[in-house]
Structures are given as structure tokens and as C-alpha cells.
């Protein structure tokens, strides 16, 4: 009996260790980014890093460490991709959750999930060979490698995330909502518009937040398609270099332990904090939401 009890305890401890590993990994990521990244501020001022418009670390006499133009690139691609993916994704989610027959839903859902299976480097390649020449032709530009093309490619990547989470949110609404509004004589569109969407609003917002997190962190597609220019972008037809792409480009050539290496970790830290806040926000909303509607 005692032996059995120890076995039980031992098993629980083992499983607990596996569970806690996620926390340890997250902590370790933060600690490494922070300790290395913060070191760069011994030689770079905070003001220059966050508000400097020039990023030119390889300059011999006067290296510049401003991430403002990189940050602008990230913001533009994130905003642009959401502008495309949110309407399309939420419309798709409404169709799948409320309108499609269960049979067609069962076929459509795995197909849309498959988009998430396309590696981002492949989307980048398609953006490079197919989309950007098309964009250049349509708008009469010399090159189609710009923030617009990058936004479109990232939008494709966001679709499965936004669709599947929004659909979960809509289907988790209590059926009483549907029955009550239909019983009052509403059409199904009135029911969706006046009852379901207002009730699901915070959940849909959480889905969008998770989309923001993914768009901010997307690397390979923007690295290939966004055009890689360090100049401050003025419009969506300008090439940009988002923060993720900048890290991926420069980290290979950099001397380990140099200021440049540490500055790239500082950019990583900025990315980590941004995505962490966005994900935490989405998490809190979903948690509240689930508690509200679990009858």
C-alpha cells in the first residue's frame, strides 16, 4: 500500500515537472532576451534606440541604432494585414458557424486549417514570384516588393487563426440566444447582427488580438516580400523592413557579444513584450468570455 502511494506521488511529480516546463521556457526566453538586450543600452541611449529614425549598425565611425523605421514597418504590415484578414476572416467564421450545413462545414474547416500548414517561407516565395510582379503591374511600380505585398501575404497567414477562433467564439454562444431572437420573429441575419455579434464582440476582439500577435511576429514572408528598405516608409507602396526581418537578416553576420548582437536582442525583447501583451490581453478576454457563457 505504501509503495503504491509513493508511486502515485512520483507520477504526479513527473507530470508536474512537464507542466511547469512551459513556464520555465517562457521565463528563460525572457531572461536571455532581457539580460543580453539590456546590455546594449550601456552604449546606446534609450532615446536613440526608440526614437531614432536611422538604423545603420555597420557604419564604421557613427553607427546609428534607431528602430523607429523598423517599428513603422512592423506596424504598417500588421495594420495592413489585419485590414484584409479581419473582415474576410470574421465573415468566414459567421458562415461556418451559423450558415453552412454541418456537412460542408466539416469539409471546409480542415481545408482552411490547411492554410496554417503552409510554411511562411513558401508564402514568401509565392509573394516574391507571383504577387509582387502582379502588384507592380497593377499600380505601375518599379518593384512590387513593398508593404502592400507583405500585408497581403501576412493576411493569408492570419486567416486560419482568425476564422477558427471567431468560429469557436460564435458556436460557444448559448443556444437560448438564437432561439429567443428567432422566436421574436427575427430573420437569421437579424439574429446574427442583433444578438450573436454583440454578444460575441469581446471574443471576436480576442481573435483579432491573437491575429495582431501573429502578424507582429511573422518573419519569413515579410523578410522576402516587404522589400528590406531601412528608409522611413511613407506609403504602402514603399519597401519596409519590419523588426522580425531585421533580426533574421543581421543576426547571422553579427559578431557574438558585440553591441550589434546585443541591440538585435533588444529588438527581440521589444517584439517579445509586444506579443506578450497582446496575447495576454486576448487570453484575459477569452477567459472572462468562457466563464460568462458557460451555463
Amino acid at each position: 500500500m505504501i509503495k503504491k502511494k509513493y508511486k502515485e506521488l512520483f507520477a504526479e511529480k513527473i507530470f508536474f515537472c512537464a507542466g511547469i516546463s512551459a513556464v520555465l521556457i517562457l521565463l528563460a526566453i525572457f531572461i536571455y532576451l532581457f539580460t543580453i538586450g539590456i546590455h546594449s543600452f550601456s552604449q546606446i541611449s534609450f532615446g536613440e534606440f526608440f526614437f531614432g529614425r536611422l538604423w545603420n549598425p555597420s557604419s564604421y565611425d557613427a553607427p546609428k541604432w534607431g528602430i523607429l523605421s523598423l517599428f513603422a514597418g512592423t506596424l504598417m504590415v500588421t495594420f495592413g494585414s489585419l485590414l484584409i484578414a479581419v473582415p474576410l476572416g470574421i465573415a468566414g467564421a459567421i458562415y461556418l458557424a451559423e450558415i453552412a450545413s454541418s456537412r460542408s462545414r466539416e469539409i471546409l474547416k480542415p481545408i482552411i486549417d490547411m492554410i496554417a500548414g503552409i510554411p511562411s517561407v513558401v508564402l514568401g516565395l509565392i509573394g516574391l514570384l507571383f504577387l509582387s510582379p502582379l502588384i507592380a503591374k497593377i499600380f505601375g511600380l518599379s518593384t512590387g516588393l513593398n508593404a502592400l505585398s507583405a500585408s497581403i501575404m501576412v493576411a493569408i497567414m492570419l486567416l486560419p487563426t482568425i476564422i477558427s477562433i471567431s468560429e469557436d467564439v460564435l458556436t460557444s454562444l448559448p443556444k437560448e440566444f438564437r432561439e429567443a431572437s428567432l422566436a421574436l420573429g427575427a430573420t437569421r441575419w437579424q439574429m446574427i447582427r442583433m444578438t450573436l455579434i454583440p454578444a460575441a464582440l469581446s471574443g471576436l476582439f480576442a481573435a483579432i488580438m491573437l491575429g495582431v500577435g501573429r502578424a507582429v511576429g511573422e518573419t519569413m514572408a515579410v523578410l522576402i516580400v516587404a522589400g528590406n528598405s531601412l528608409a522611413m516608409p511613407n506609403s504602402y507602396f514603399d519597401p519596409v523592413r519590419p523588426m522580425t526581418a531585421n533580426i533574421a537578416i543581421e543576426i547571422k553576420e553579427v559578431v557574438k557579444g558585440s553591441v550589434h548582437y546585443e541591440a538585435l536582442f533588444a529588438i527581440g525583447l521589444v517584439l517579445f513584450i509586444m506579443t506578450f501583451i497582446v496575447n495576454l490581453l486576448a487570453d484575459i478576454i477569452i477567459e472572462k468570455y468562457v466563464r460568462k457563457y458557460r451555463w
Partner: protein, 307 residues
């Protein structure tokens, strides 16, 4: 589903018999228009996937040949070589990542679903898992470089890349496994406890046999996503050209996603583009075969389920 169809019937009869006013008809027309838009939005997403696949297959098949798939990469004249080392590297990477992250992910999911009480520690674990899934891949790359490559002195190697990708895959595997565990009916566990089984015995003899296939299929999806990741392996270990196969986990390795990235963006050969598309086709084929396998396995499992 039945419920919805019923409610529609009620609505139809009410519209015919009681309330055939003009405003109601207008609403119905509006409904038809909006539903049409929503349907179109869904099919646009599907069409995007179809178009991408058609593009890759129609452009990539040209360079696919036995030689392309099975010979070593020839650096000087890319038409004389193949991408076998890259295929080999990617498959090896997938196996290593699976070995590291699947047992750990499944164990973590069992903890969360079977042991964890609703207290602060466990809530933090859940938040950490969801946040881990949101960390950008390039940040995993930075972490892998600082921790596995430099601090643990693994060097830029297959092992460092596998560990980095395993960290990234872990949250996906945990959430997929949790889903499978939640599908095991509570009555199964209650029955086991009623017979005097302990928790450990219940997990081994009742919970695992009924959820393992679901956990494995979910995990394979996670790994199939990981082997397509490029940003982390650029940083921690992939190389574009090697004259030998990786013999130990501490060797560098070639991988399909990195290979196609270099071919598409940095290679000077005039055939580079075609070869990039051919490499893409091979990568997509591996990822989709894994996905399709999971889809079929799940379909068969659902048919076999008795509850």
C-alpha cells in the same frame, strides 16, 4: 443541426401565414445578400489555398526527377545535383523534434487535465503555455542562439535546432493533447475509480488507451508545422551547402525551407528560381502528406468510437 433546421421551418411558416409584410420580405432579401457575402468570403479563403497549391505544383514539377530527389547537392552547377541532403535534414529534424517535444507535451497535458487543481500555479502554467504559442519564431531563434548554441555550447547544430524547435512546438502539442484528453468521457474514469484503481492506474489503463491516438495525431500536426519553420533554423544551425551528410547531432544540417529561401533570394544561377519552386513542392508535399495522414486517421478513429 436538427435544431437549426426546425427553427427555420417555424420561421418559414410564420412568414407565410402570419407576417407576410413587406418589411419582412426586405429583411429576407437582405439576409440573402449578406449570407451570400459571407459564403463568398469563406470560399475566397478556400480558393487562396487552392491557388497556392496549383501554383506550386504547376511550377515546381518541372525540376522534379529521380536525380533531384536522391542526389547530393552540387554547388557549382545546380542542375547536376539534387536536394537529398535537405530532405534528409528536414526529416531528421522532424524526428528529433518529435522525440523531444511529444513525450513532454503529452505529459504536460496529462498534468493539466488530470492532476491540476484550479489554483494560481496552474493558472500561471496555462497562461504561460498560451503565451509561449504566441512568441514570434525569430525570437525562439534568438533564444536558441543564446541558450542552446552559446550557453550550452552545442554550436550551430542539428541538436540545437531541434531543441529550439521543440520549445516552439511544445505549446501546440500540449493544447492538441489536452483536447484529446478532454474527449475521454468522465464516466470511463469514474468506472475505473469505482473498481478501486488509483489515479496512476486509471491514467495508464483507461485515459491513455482512449486518447493516445488523438494526442499523437495532434502532435504530428504540430511537428509538421515546425519543420516548415525557417527563421529559427537560419539562426541556430541550418546551412545551405554541406559536402557530407550530418553524422552526429552536433553537425550542421541542410533543410528544405532554408534551402528554398536561399535559392529564391540569394542564388545567382538562372535556374535558381525553378529549383526553389521544386524544393517548395517537396516541402509542401511532406507537410501535406502528414496533414492528410492525420485527417484520414482521425476520420477512421471517429468511426470506430463507440461513445
Amino acid at each position: 443541426m436538427k435544431r437549426r433546421r426546425n427553427s427555420r421551418n417555424i420561421q418559414d411558416t410564420s412568414s407565410e401565414e402570419i407576417y407576410l409584410s413587406e418589411t419582412y420580405n426586405k429583411e429576407l432579401i437582405k439576409e440573402r445578400i449578406y449570407f451570400g457575402i459571407f459564403k463568398a468570403a469563406t470560399y475566397i479563403s478556400v480558393m487562396i489555398l487552392v491557388l497556392i497549391l496549383i501554383y506550386i505544383i504547376s511550377t515546381g514539377y518541372k525540376v522534379i526527377s529521380w536525380q533531384f530527389l536522391t542526389s547530393m547537392w552540387s554547388h557549382r552547377d545546380i542542375t547536376k545535383g539534387g536536394i537529398f541532403p535537405a530532405i534528409f535534414g528536414t526529416i531528421l529534424l522532424g524526428i528529433f523534434v518529435s522525440i523531444i517535444s511529444i513525450p513532454m507535451g503529452i505529459a504536460a497535458a496529462i498534468y493539466l487535465n488530470e492532476y491540476a487543481k484550479d489554483n494560481l500555479t496552474n493558472r500561471i502554467i496555462k497562461i504561460a503555455i498560451r503565451n509561449l504559442a504566441g512568441v514570434p519564431s525569430v525570437v525562439y531563434g534568438l533564444f536558441g542562439l543564446a541558450f542552446f548554441v552559446l550557453a550550452l555550447k552545442l554550436g550551430t547544430s542539428l541538436l540545437a535546432a531541434s531543441l529550439t524547435l521543440a520549445c516552439m512546438t511544445l505549446p501546440w502539442i500540449i493544447s492538441a493533447s489536452e483536447e484529446a484528453l478532454k474527449a475521454v468521457p468522465q464516466s470511463f474514469k469514474d468506472g475505473s475509480y469505482a473498481l478501486g484503481a488509483t489515479k496512476w492506474e486509471t491514467i495508464i489503463k483507461v485515459v491513455l488507451p482512449n486518447s493516445l491516438s488523438g494526442m499523437l495525431t495532434g502532435s504530428i500536426l504540430g511537428v509538421s508545422r515546425a519543420i516548415g519553420e525557417t527563421a529559427p533554423i537560419i539562426i541556430v544551425g541550418a546551412t545551405f551547402y554541406m559536402s557530407y551528410m550530418p553524422l552526429s547531432p552536433l553537425d550542421k544540417f541542410m533543410a528544405l525551407p532554408y534551402h528554398l529561401f536561399i535559392l529564391a533570394t540569394q542564388h545567382s544561377s538562372s535556374y535558381a528560381r525553378d529549383y526553389a519552386l521544386g524544393t517548395t513542392l517537396v516541402l509542401i508535399a511532406i507537410v501535406f502528406i502528414l496533414n492528410l495522414g492525420v485527417f484520414i486517421a482521425r476520420y477512421n478513429l471517429r468511426k470506430k468510437k463507440l461513445w
